[in-house]
């Protein structure tokens, strides 16, 4: 990417803070949060091909780590992010271990079960002192540093954007060299990958860990934006939504993660405009239609478009 383009992208990303306001800025902030969560899922499902239907669990745990540290231990909001990331990475690693043995539908369903169990665990009596049980935890949002002439919404957006941009950059770097090749090799042909000297177990568990880290930090940011966590926020449907975002956005693509986040964030509201009485039907239909039109997701459709353009150009024919 040329320097000019990079500056352009940066301006485009920062602009919402000053162009949008209130609700729209809030939604844009959530878009960044979900995009990050979906990117996390992509890091394990898109790259190593391990299907997780339970990433909402990591999102929830990231959110709760932040909420608990802020509410019970008075930590500053920014200091909770690395802890949330580390806790989720450790958990992701732990879950990656049994996941090593499981194939296709088995892994998908075990992770789904994990997602189903998390709200139950969050409500459990033994943890109530910290989690607030079913009532959840109400947070106060980050305070705008005194020197910055920004509103709370603006600051929050820029903060989330900065973290998300850093992590997207890290993902971009990760997904261009030997680690990306190793992960793709594992997805394409695990035995050949081992013969090529790739420690499949190590890469898979680490991919799971880093994926959980991304999604966990997204959850942590989500908690700061919504300023409330409760088991009801992290039901199975959250995991399903992240998965839907990944599928609609398309795997293996950073912009795809953003597109997928846009779908899960905005299309439900769009559905409501179409039918007040059964928005669920409309949303379902739009989801099916999106996959019908773009079976490999938005990213896949874009790739195909670029490829056909390239083919159409006479000099490369």
């Amino acid at each position: 990417m040329s320097r000019l383009a990079a500056v352009g992208v940066a301006v485009l990303l920062i602009a919402p803070a000053f162009v949008l306001s209130g609700y729209h800025l809030f939604q844009t902030t959530m878009l960044a949060v979900y995009a990050l969560a979906i990117l996390g899922l992509d890091l394990v499902t898109g790259t190593t091909g391990q299907v997780s239907l339970g990433h909402g669990a990591f999102y929830a745990i990231g959110a709760y780590v932040t909420a608990i540290l802020m509410a019970s231990f008075n930590w500053p909001y920014w200091a909770t992010l690395p802890v949330a990331g580390a806790v989720c990475a450790a958990l992701g690693f732990a879950i990656g271990l049994p996941a090593l043995r499981l194939r296709g539908p088995y892994l998908a369903l075990v992770t789904l079960a994990l997602a189903a169990a998390v709200p139950q665990i969050l409500r459990a009596k033994a943890l109530e002192t910290w989690t607030g049980g079913a009532q959840g935890i109400v947070l106060s949002g980050p305070e705008v540093p005194a020197l910055l002439p920004l509103s709370a919404d603006q600051f929050l957006y820029l903060f989330v954007l900065a973290i998300a941009a850093l992590l997207f950059l890290a993902a971009h770097l990760l997904l261009r060299g030997r680690i990306r090749r190793a992960m793709a090799a594992i997805r394409d042909h695990p035995l050949a990958a081992e013969a090529a000297g790739i420690d499949v177990a190590a890469i898979k568990t680490r991919a799971f860990a880093i994926s959980a880290l991304f999604t966990g930090i997204a959850g942590s940011l989500g908690a700061l934006v919504v300023q409330f966590v409760a088991p009801d926020s992290f039901e199975v449907m959250l995991s399903i939504a992240l998965f839907v975002g990944l599928v609609v956005g398309g795997t293996g693509s950073l912009p795809g993660a953003v597109a997928g986040a846009g779908f899960v964030l905005f299309v439900p509201n769009l559905s409501e405009l179409v039918s007040k009485s059964a928005p669920g039907v409309v949303y379902g239909v739009l989801l099916v239609a999106a996959l019908f039109v773009m079976p490999s997701g938005a990213a896949g459709a874009l790739r195909r478009l670029v490829a056909s353009r390239r083919r159409a150009r006479p000099d490369t024919a």
């Binding site: 890290a170 680690i179 997805r187 050949a192 013969a195 090529a196 000297g197 790739i198 680490r206 991919a207």
Partner: protein, 264 residues
């Protein structure tokens, strides 16, 4: 450590799958720098033996020594770093990647940088990438793959795809290259090219090759030493000519037809 004369020593390798005996005590050695052919009927245990050497199977008995060191207990992904490279009977390329990336993947054991170094673009990651790309250039030229380097592997003709697989094993600079039926599916002229190629590889990379092959003319021309397996045991071990004359080998494997007469 002093270099042993034998790069690979197999001793009493035995392997069972349930009631089926795949290998019943196989012993032989591959000398440094030689091309050793492994022949035998289908189902005689050649591929199983390959899998035992490259760590894919754990033999129930026996030992594998590479350069005098036992390697039997190591995890399979360590084999590449120790110097055992292999190809597969049926193509085992990474289908979503380009030729270049397929080969670069083979360089994985040469690098050290992990998730963190790569995500943060630390110098170690850049160093690994640079080294891998340098080796890539040599291999691309040697195997004549430069023209197709950017193509997805799915688009390659079979013979070229096989060369990509060899290139992927070669980029890690193995001491011992295991080739599982490299000539399979190639026509006569392609087999000739392969023969030349393998001799060049041995020369330039100073490695030893163990190959499973049914193409007898290739085996006869290329190999310094041939081992014949049948029903999981060694039935012959010697020069190509010796093995080809061995009545057990003729009975179990070669049969006698005009085609073979020509190959000889």
């Amino acid at each position: 450590m002093a270099e042993t004369a034998d790069v690979l020593v197999l001793h009493g390798i035995a392997m069972r799958f349930g009631a089926v005996v795949a290998l019943a005590g196989v012993s032989f050695a591959v000398r440094r720098g030689e091309i050793c052919g492994l022949i035998g009927p289908n189902g005689s245990g050649k591929t199983s033996l390959f899998n035992c050497i490259s760590g894919f199977y754990r033999p129930q008995a026996g030992s594998v020594h590479l350069d005098g060191r036992p390697v039997g207990a190591l995890p399979r992904h360590r084999m590449a770093a120790l110097g055992i490279g292999r190809t597969f009977q049926n193509l085992a390329l990474f289908r979503s990647m380009s030729v270049r990336d397929n080969i670069l993947t083979g360089a994985h054991p040469l690098g050290r940088s992990g998730f963190l170094a790569n995500a943060l673009a630390l110098p170690a990651a850049a160093r690994d990438e640079r080294a891998a790309r340098q080796s890539l250039e040599t291999v691309l030229d040697l195997l004549d793959l430069r023209a197709v380097a950017a193509l997805p592997v799915g688009a390659l003709p079979f013979g070229t795809a096989k060369r990509v697989e060899i290139a992927r094993a070669l980029i890690a600079r193995p001491k011992l290259l295991l080739l599982d039926e490299p000539a399979c599916g190639l026509n006569h002229s392609e087999v000739d090219d392969l023969c030349t190629l393998l001799l060049r590889i041995r020369g330039e990379f100073a490695l030893s090759i163990l190959l499973v092959e049914h193409h007898m003319s290739l085996v006869m021309r290329l190999c310094d030493h041939v081992v014949a397996l049948a029903a999981g045991t060694c039935i012959a071990d010697g020069t190509p000519a010796q093995v080809q004359r061995n009545p057990d080998v003729i009975r179990a494997y070669l049969g006698a037809t005009p085609a073979d007469a020509r190959a000889a």
